[in-house]
C-alpha cells in the first residue's frame, strides 16, 4: 500500500505538528540513533519571538537596558520589514526547548523541529564543550535565581547602582570565562546555600587581604616584593569578584552571575560552524528521508529546498551580500563531505583522510561532533574538496606593506595553509585580544595592571578606554593596561584613574 502524505496543505495544526514530530523522531532516533534530551516544542507569536530574541534567547533573564535596546532595534526592523525573524530559537536545557513561530507554514514547523529539536538538541547533549561547560538540567533554574536576585538588589540598592554594575560586568563578559579550567556545575539548590555562605566568608577574606593596620615586618619579607596574583589570571571577572577590595557582597554575587552566564554561552561561541552545520545536516537528511518514505508531498519538498538553499547560501567575497563565511554553509558542507569520504573516497581523500576511508559515516560524523570545537574541527576535517567548492583563498593584511598579499588559494600548495588559517580564524583566543590580570600593587596605590599580549602586532581598538573605565569602576582603584609585544616589551600603556573618593558607585 502506498503511504499517504501526513499533510497536503501549508497550514499547521497541533495535531499535524505532533504527527510530523512522531515521524521525524522515528527517523532521527530510530534510524540514525541521535541521542537527544526530551523535546519541548513551544508555539509562540512573532512578538514573543522578539522578546526571546532580545534576552539572548533565554526564556527568563534579569532586566537590563541593553536587552531593551536590542528589543527596540529588533522591533523596528521587523515592523519595517527589513528583516524576518529567525525561524527558530533553541535552548540548551533539559528538556530541550525549541520555539516554533505561529506564522510559519507546516513545512517550516517540520524543518525547525528537525533542525532545532533534533539537530541542535543532539549537539548540546553530545559535544564535549557543552558537556563540560554547561549544565542543561540547571540553567533555567539558575536564570530564575539570577533574575530574582537582581530584582532584590534593585529594590535594596536602587536601579542605577545595579545598572552601573551590570554595564561594567557586561563590558568584561568575554573575559569572565575559564578557558582551560573545568568549571563547576551549576545547581540551584547548591547555589543558594553556598551564596549566603560565600557572601560572609569572602568579605572576611577580602578584608584580610587589604588589612589596613600595618603589620610589623620584623623579618626579611619587607624586601621581597609580593607578587599578586602569583600567576597572570585570564578570568578577569573572576579575579575582580574574588579580590576587588571595595565591593559589597551583593556586588560580588552579581559579578558571579554575569560570569556564570558568560560561561554558559562560551561553548556556543566556539561551536558555531559545527553546531549550525550539524543541525542543518540533520534537517536535510531527515526531511529527505521523509520524502523517500513518501510522507511528504512534492510541494512540501519544493518549499523545503528553497528554504534550505537560502540557509546554506554562501555569497562570494565580491558579492554585495557578502558578510563573511556562512557557518551554516561551511558546517553543512563539511559534514556532508565527511560522509562522502567514508562512502566514496577518491585518491586525494585516501591521502588526506586515511582514518575516514571505508568507515561507517554515521559513526564518523558522531565522533567529529562529539570531540571537536570549530577551531579543531576545521583543522581536522576541512578537505581539499570543500576548499575547492568554496573557492577559499587567504588574504594577508600587513600594515607595514602597502598592498594586500594572497598567500594561498584553493590549489595543491595552498590547502594546508588555508586550513590552518581558517582554523586560526575560529580560535576565540586569537579573535579576541588576549588580556590578562598581570599584577596588583599591594603595598602602594592598590592599582591593578592588566596585560595585553599582542598577537601579530595587532593593537587594541578604540573602545579600550571605555572598557578600562568599567574595569576601574569595579576595581575601585587605578587601572593600567599594558600592551606587550612578542618580545615581552611593553610598547603601549593606557591608564584609568579612579575617582578620589574611595567609595564605589
Amino acid at each position: 500500500m502506498k503511504p499517504t502524505p501526513i499533510s497536503t496543505s501549508s497550514e499547521w495544526s497541533f495535531d499535524l505538528i505532533e504527527k510530523y514530530d512522531r515521524e521525524i523522531m522515528k527517523i532521527a532516533c530510530g534510524e540514525y540513533h541521535l541521542d537527544i534530551y526530551p523535546v519541548q516544542l513551544e508555539i509562540i507569536t512573532a512578538e514573543q519571538m522578539m522578546d526571546a530574541y532580545s534576552s539572548v534567547g533565554m526564556p527568563v533573564n534579569y532586566h537590563h537596558w541593553s536587552f531593551g535596546k536590542q528589543f527596540v532595534a529588533t522591533e523596528k526592523s521587523y515592523k519595517r520589514g527589513q528583516m524576518g525573524l529567525a525561524y527558530e530559537i533553541v535552548i540548551n536545557s533539559n528538556p530541550c526547548i525549541a520555539y516554533l513561530m505561529e506564522e510559519n507554514s507546516m513545512m517550516m514547523q517540520a524543518l525547525v523541529t528537525a533542525h532545532a529539536a533534533y539537530g541542535h538538541n543532539s549537539f548540546f547533549k553530545g559535544n564535549y564543550l557543552f558537556r563540560t561547560w554547561t549544565d542543561a538540567e540547571a540553567i533555567i533554574d539558575y536564570l530564575v535565581f539570577a533574575k530574582n536576585y537582581l530584582a532584590d538588589c534593585e529594590r535594596m540598592y536602587g536601579i542605577d547602582a545595579v545598572e552601573d554594575l551590570l554595564d561594567s560586568c557586561h563590558a568584561l563578559m568575554n573575559y569572565g570565562v575559564d578557558r582551560y579550567k573545568r568549571p563547576q556545575k551549576l545547581s540551584l539548590a547548591k547555589e543558594k546555600i553556598r551564596q549566603s555562605e560565600r557572601e560572609h566568608y569572602l568579605q572576611l577574606q577580602v578584608n584580610d587581604l587589604w588589612r589596613t593596620i600595618p603589620r610589623r615586618n620584623t623579618d626579611m619579607e619587607i624586601n621581597a616584593p609580593i607578587r599578586f596574583p602569583a600567576e597572570p589570571q585570564e578570568n578577569i571577572l573572576y579575579f575582580i569578584e574574588k579580590s576587588a577590595p571595595l565591593l559589597e557582597p551583593w556586588q560580588r554575587e552579581v559579578i558571579r552571575i554575569v560570569r556564570k552566564i558568560a560561561q554558559y554561552f562560551y561553548p556556543q561561541r566556539q561551536t558555531q560552524v559545527m553546531n549550525e552545520g550539524w543541525a542543518t545536516f540533520w534537517h536535510h537528511t531527515i526531511l529527505n528521508r521523509l520524502y523517500e518514505k513518501q510522507l511528504v508531498t512534492d510541494g512540501f519538498m519544493m518549499e523545503f529546498l528553497q528554504s534550505h538553499t537560502n540557509v546554506v547560501l554562501q555569497p562570494p567575497v565580491h558579492s554585495h551580500w557578502y558578510s563573511g563565511i556562512n557557518p551554516y554553509a561551511l558546517g553543512f558542507a563539511m559534514y556532508q563531505d565527511i560522509c562522502r569520504i567514508c562512502r566514496e573516497p577518491t585518491d586525494e581523500d585516501r591521502a588526506w583522510f586515511p582514518e575516514l576511508v571505508g568507515k561507517d559515516w554515521r559513526e564518523s560524523i558522531e565522533f567529529a561532533m562529539r570531540n571537536f570545537k570549530d577551531e579543531s574541527f576545521i583543522s581536522q576535517y576541512l578537505s581539499p574538496k570543500v576548499i575547492r567548492d568554496f573557492r577559499l583563498f587567504a588574504v594577508r593584511d600587513d600594515d607595514k606593506d602597502d598592498k594586500l598579499l594572497i598567500p594561498a588559494i584553493h590549489d595543491e600548495t595552498g590547502y594546508a595553509e588555508i586550513r590552518r588559517t581558517l582554523s586560526e580564524q575560529y580560535n576565540l583566543g586569537s579573535r579576541e585580544p588576549n588580556i590578562q590580570v598581570w599584577s596588583v600593587n599591594l603595598r602602594g596605590d592598590r592599582s591593578l595592571t592588566l596585560r595585553h599580549f599582542m598577537h601579530q602586532r595587532r593593537p587594541l581598538g578604540k573602545t579600550t578606554e571605555e572598557v578600562l573605565k568599567h574595569v576601574c569602576r569595579l576595581w575601585g582603584f587605578d587601572v593600567r593596561l599594558e600592551s606587550v609585544d612578542q618580545q615581552g616589551q611593553v610598547i603601549q600603556t593606557s591608564e584609568c584613574k579612579a575617582p578620589e573618593h574611595n567609595s564605589l558607585f
Binding site: 537596558w65 531593551g68 528589543f71 573602545t463 572598557v467
Partner: protein, 424 residues
C-alpha cells in the same frame, strides 16, 4: 515524543521592563529629541509618537576589541582570479576584500540609533518638564466622557433597541424563503384542480384528493410565523470617548524684538498645554493665532511661531483684534472661548490701562478662561500690575510669571478646580 505547548497566550510584553529601562537610561537624549519635536510640530498634532535618534557612540556597549593594524590573515570564499603570491591594492574604506567583516563596527560614520517613541511615552516626556500633578496627567492622557454611537445591527439586545425596519425586512425575506416551495406546489395543485373540474365530477376520488392537498398546503402556509425571534435586529451602540462640545482657543503672543526663540519656545509649550486640556473637553477646537507688536494681525500657526518682528509693543491692539474676532466669528452661545496670552511684559506705558478696560469690558465677560504668562527674568512692569488688579476681581483670569517650563502649570490650576464635575 515531544511535548507540545501553546505559549501564544502567555505574556506578550516580556520586554516591556527592558524597554522602559532603555528609555530611562537615555532620558536626556530622548528629552532633547522631544523638545525638538515640540518645536517643530503644530499644536494640534502634538499627540503622536515620535522618532527618536540617539548617536550610536552613546548607546554602544564597549568591549575589548582588536583595532586596525598589525597583521591580519583572513579566509574568504569565492575566489575569482587570484593566484598565490598576488599582491592587490588595499580596498578603500576597510570593507570588502581585506578589511574583514568587522569593518562596520569600527567605522566612524555610523548611523544613529533610531527608534519610535509611542504616543504615551512621548506625552510622558512632554509632561515631565511641565511638573504636572499626577491626577492631571491621567486626565490629560485618559479620556473622560463616553458617548454611545451607532455601530450597525446585532442579533440580540434589549427590546427598546429593536430596529423595526430591519427586523421586518428580515421577517419578510424569511417568509418568502420558507413559503416559496409551498406556494409553487399550491399553485400547481390549484391549476390541476381547475383542469380536473372541467373534466371530472366534483366528488371524484382525484378531486377530493387534490382539495385535501390544497387545504394541507394552505395550512402549512399559515403556520409560517409572521415574525420569529430569529428575525429580530437590534440597534447596536458602542461607547466611544467623546468630548462634549466646541471651543475656540486664542493664542496671543507678543512678537516684538525682545521675544527671542527661547521665550517663544516656552510660550509654545504653554499654548500646547492649554490645547491639550481643551482637547479632552471639547469635540471640536479651533485655534486663532494673533500676534502683535505695535499693531496686531491674525496669522497662521507657522507665521505665529516662526517669523520675527521688531519695534515697540502695544498690547491693546491684540486685545481689540481678539474681541473683534470673538464678536464676528464666535458667538458665545455656540462657543466656549479660551484665551492664552504670552508676552515678555513689555508694553507701551499708557497702553496698560487701556488693556485692562478692554479685558474687563469686552473680553472677560465672554470667555471661559483667560490665561496670561509673562516670560521674563526681570522685574514686572506696568502691564503686570494692571493685570494683577484684574486677577483680584475675576476668578477665571489666571496669570503667572515664568522662568522655566515648570512654571507653566500653575496657570491652569484654577481651570481644573473650576470644572471638577466634567472629570470622572
Amino acid at each position: 515524543m515531544a511535548h507540545l505547548i501553546d505559549r501564544r497566550l502567555n505574556g506578550k510584553n516580556k520586554s516591556a521592563v527592558n524597554r522602559e529601562r532603555f528609555l530611562r537610561r537615555f532620558k536626556a537624549q530622548i528629552k532633547q529629541s522631544v523638545a525638538k519635536a515640540i518645536k517643530g510640530r503644530a499644536i494640534t498634532d502634538i499627540q503622536a509618537g515620535e522618532k527618536i535618534s540617539i548617536p550610536s557612540k552613546d548607546i554602544s556597549e564597549p568591549v575589548f576589541q582588536h583595532g586596525s593594524g598589525g597583521i591580519k590573515e583572513i579566509i574568504h570564499p569565492g575566489n575569482q582570479d587570484f593566484i598565490r603570491g598576488d599582491r592587490i591594492a588595499r580596498p578603500q574604506g576597510g570593507g570588502g576584500g581585506g578589511g574583514g567583516g568587522k569593518a562596520s563596527n569600527q567605522g566612524e560614520g555610523e548611523d544613529d540609533f533610531v527608534f519610535e517613541l509611542s504616543r504615551e511615552e512621548f506625552m510622558k516626556v512632554f509632561f515631565e518638564d511641565l511638573a504636572l500633578p499626577n491626577l492631571v496627567k491621567t486626565q490629560l492622557l485618559g479620556t473622560q466622557e463616553m458617548k454611545s454611537v451607532r455601530a450597525g445591527f446585532i442579533n440580540d439586545g434589549t427590546p427598546t433597541n429593536i430596529n423595526i425596519v430591519r427586523s421586518l425586512r428580515g421577517a419578510l425575506s424569511r417568509r418568502i424563503a420558507l413559503s416559496a416551495p409551498i406556494l409553487s406546489e399550491l399553485t400547481q395543485a390549484e391549476e390541476e384542480l381547475d383542469e380536473l373540474l372541467e373534466l371530472a365530477e366534483e366528488d371524484s376520488f382525484r378531486v377530493r384528493d387534490l382539495r385535501e392537498k390544497i387545504r394541507h398546503l394552505r395550512s402549512r402556509l399559515y403556520t409560517i410565523p409572521f415574525i420569529d425571534p430569529f428575525d429580530l435586529r437590534y440597534n447596536n451602540r458602542v461607547k466611544r470617548p467623546f468630548p462634549t462640545s466646541q471651543a475656540v482657543m486664542f493664542c496671543i503672543m507678543d512678537v516684538s524684538g525682545s521675544m527671542d526663540e527661547n521665550k517663544k519656545d516656552i510660550a509654545k509649550r504653554f499654548f500646547i498645554l492649554l490645547y491639550l486640556f481643551l482637547e479632552k473637553q471639547y469635540e471640536k477646537i479651533e485655534l486663532v493665532f494673533i500676534r502683535h507688536h505695535t499693531s496686531a494681525t491674525e496669522v497662521s500657526e507657522h507665521d505665529f511661531f516662526h517669523s520675527r518682528e521688531s519695534g515697540g509693543t502695544v498690547v491693546s491692539s491684540a486685545l481689540t483684534l481678539c474681541s473683534e474676532v470673538i464678536q464676528k466669528r464666535y458667538p458665545t452661545e455656540d462657543w466656549n472661548i479660551y484665551v492664552a496670552q504670552a508676552s515678555d511684559g513689555d508694553n507701551w506705558d499708557s497702553d496698560s490701562s487701556q488693556c485692562s478696560s478692554i479685558l474687563l469690558e469686552k473680553i472677560l465677560p465672554c470667555v471661559q478662561y483667560y490665561a496670561y504668562i509673562e516670560i521674563t527674568q526681570g522685574e514686572p512692569q506696568n502691564l503686570w500690575h494692571e493685570y494683577q488688579k484684574i486677577a483680584e476681581q475675576i476668578k477665571h483670569f489666571a496669570m503667572q510669571k515664568i522662568r522655566t517650563a515648570a512654571d507653566i502649570y500653575p496657570v491652569f490650576r484654577e481651570l481644573f478646580k473650576k470644572q471638577p464635575h466634567t472629570v470622572t
